[in-house]
Amino acid sequence: MNEKLTCSTPGCEVAIDGSCLEGHDPIQSCPHFGQPDAIDDREPSEDSPKTSQEAGQEKPKVQLPHGESLSQLEVDAQQLQRAARFVVIMGDTSSGKSTLVCSLYEKFLRGAFADRSFVASTTLCAFERLAHQSRAISGASTPDTERTYVSEGLQYYHLALAGLENPSRRTDLFFSDRAGETYRSAMDQPHEFKTFPELSVARIVALLIDGARLAQPQELHEVLATIGRMVRAMLDSGALNDTQHLQLVMTKRDEVKRSENRDAIEMQVASLVERLQSNFGSRIATIQYFAISARDPKGEHQPADRCDALLSAWIDAPEPPVRIVEQNEDPSTGFDRLATITRARA
């Protein structure tokens, strides 16, 4: 218990007396608890943040929020301030997870999109990193997105949007991003899906189907079969349930459209979707299908083509109905109320 307590609120003395300046109890519920101290702590100080000046010639600096992708803990802290909607974007390696997130951000750089406008984002630096290889300034001749590696673990991007018709209706979205290999390997041990925190908090799970691989005859059947098995594994392991919406999203639609076999591919995909709806429809809130072209390298499709419908579905997907649970008779104590809540969640 000798770990140093930190808080980013200036003047908070949690490190000294363990109490929160803003009165949060427990202190862990304070959104600033655990954040780096407001003043750069290269030179730890008893009572004055200015003592870091003594460390050398460098002028003292104030540490600011990092703006990069967020960990689960950081997302949880933001959730305490404002409710948000979680979207898990999962799929095989190179299926276009990061490109999809990036293309949505890039649309808002150019104006309103999908009848929504930009309100805020705590991960602007991370979005910009994603976008770099698609920018002229990168020196590349073909747009690309840096892939997500297994070692990066789970990370989130944040985007808050408002409706154009109803600007007061703000929706905070957290998009999860994790290396495709992780999900792939979990198929061999389905119980591992239960250990992914993003799945337990997600309202929407967008499972990407790599359109570029569908366009390869030798890949088509394997890709579709893998999607089917992945859905089954998540449901059978209990990682997904009937409060969540599953979206099957065929990415790189431009590649499919350019394929000679496009009709056959689209038929096969439609057949898969129908089968999944028939087999698993009762075990999950909804199963929907989308086909998008987030970034056509040949420029024949608009950037984020058909992503507007997908984004709208993320925002508009209904919350599960409230379950009415008979209350304990005379819940006079906190434990009685807790028992009611526990039964409601059962």
Partner: protein
């Protein structure tokens, strides 16, 4: 006496130093273009004198470097209202602001200046390149398909010299939005603030016949959306300023030199074009929140 402290913000070459030079001349010389007059000045005036000399000669006003940071306070009286106000305009260099986005920290001294109740004068330069340009914007404007027999290999080009990601070169609108968000996030105190987005080099937009707000919506849509959706945090006005009055070429320089310095200024404010560059400052100070 109301006492408010406003701050000038902007990234390198956003026009804030030229504005400051013109402002210093206008309120010090007390010409008839403004109702603000200078009562006294505190701090080191060498920096102001240096930049105003360049401005009066129609030379490029020297860019502010980190070591040049000077903090002065101008005690100004509004002859229309009789109010006296303190305009503290710490003109920190653009590099100081670059550090905020790129390195995620800011000088403690700047932190203190930023974490005030006063208004913000945020500069963006209308005479700028499009820094949001994507590769697809470049490559598909009609001249790309002439020799695409081998387009299957177009996705990889070993000749490309890839540039590493540089946080100092991300689109300016992203950096501005990020900064405005940071100012409302701990360790800063969240508060309602007045902000004027000052579009400098406004003379280059005159042929477009648009307002400063329309310019921001066209050129910096993310910033426009952010400000529109965060009116509870930032009460916003837009202003177009040409502190020099035009582009400094050999020909225009002579015609600009022939004018009264205070009258070569252009200030588009509240739908009207005039010469009073103190209007945005007076709005920041107005006691009608």
């Amino acid at each position: 006496m109301s006492s408010q402290r406003h701050i000038i913000l902007g990234f390198p070459e956003s026009g804030k130093t030229t504005y400051l030079a013109a402002l210093w001349h206008v309120i010090e010389a007390g010409p008839k273009t403004t109702s603000l007059t200078l009562e006294k000045i505190t701090g080191d005036a060498r920096y102001l004198n240096k930049i105003v000399e360049a401005w009066l000669r129609c030379d490029e006003v020297p860019r502010t470097y980190l070591s040049d940071e000077q903090k002065v306070s101008l005690y100004v009286r509004d002859s229309k209202t009789g109010d006296t106000m303190i305009l503290s305009l710490p003109d920190f260099s653009g590099e100081t602001f670059q550090e905020i986005f790129a390195d995620r920290h800011c000088l403690e001294e700047l932190y203190g200046d930023l974490d005030e109740d006063g208004g913000i004068l945020f500069f963006v330069n209308a005479d700028r390149a499009n820094d949001t340009m994507s590769i697809l914007d470049h490559g598909f404007d009609g001249e790309d398909d002439e020799d695409d027999e081998d387009d299957e290999t177009a996705n990889t080009n070993p000749e490309d010299i890839l540039q590493e990601f540089d946080a100092r070169k991300v689109p300016e609108q992203t950096r501005i939005v990020d900064l405005l968000q940071l100012l409302q996030t701990a360790p800063f105190v969240q508060r309602n603030r007045r902000i004027t987005i000052v579009v400098s080099a406004w003379d280059v937009t005159l042929e477009d016949r648009i307002t400063p707000q329309e310019w921001v919506a066209r050129e910096m849509p993310l910033l426009d959306q952010y400000l529109a959706n965060n009116a509870k945090l930032y009460e916003t006005r837009f202003c177009g300023v040409s502190a020099q009055g035009g582009v400094l070429t050999a020909a225009t320089r002579n015609s600009l030199l022939a004018k009264d310095p205070a009258k070569r200024v252009i200030c588009h404010w509240d739908g009207q074009s005039g010469q009073d560059i103190t209007l945005p400052l007076r709005w920041l100070s107005a006691n009608d929140h």
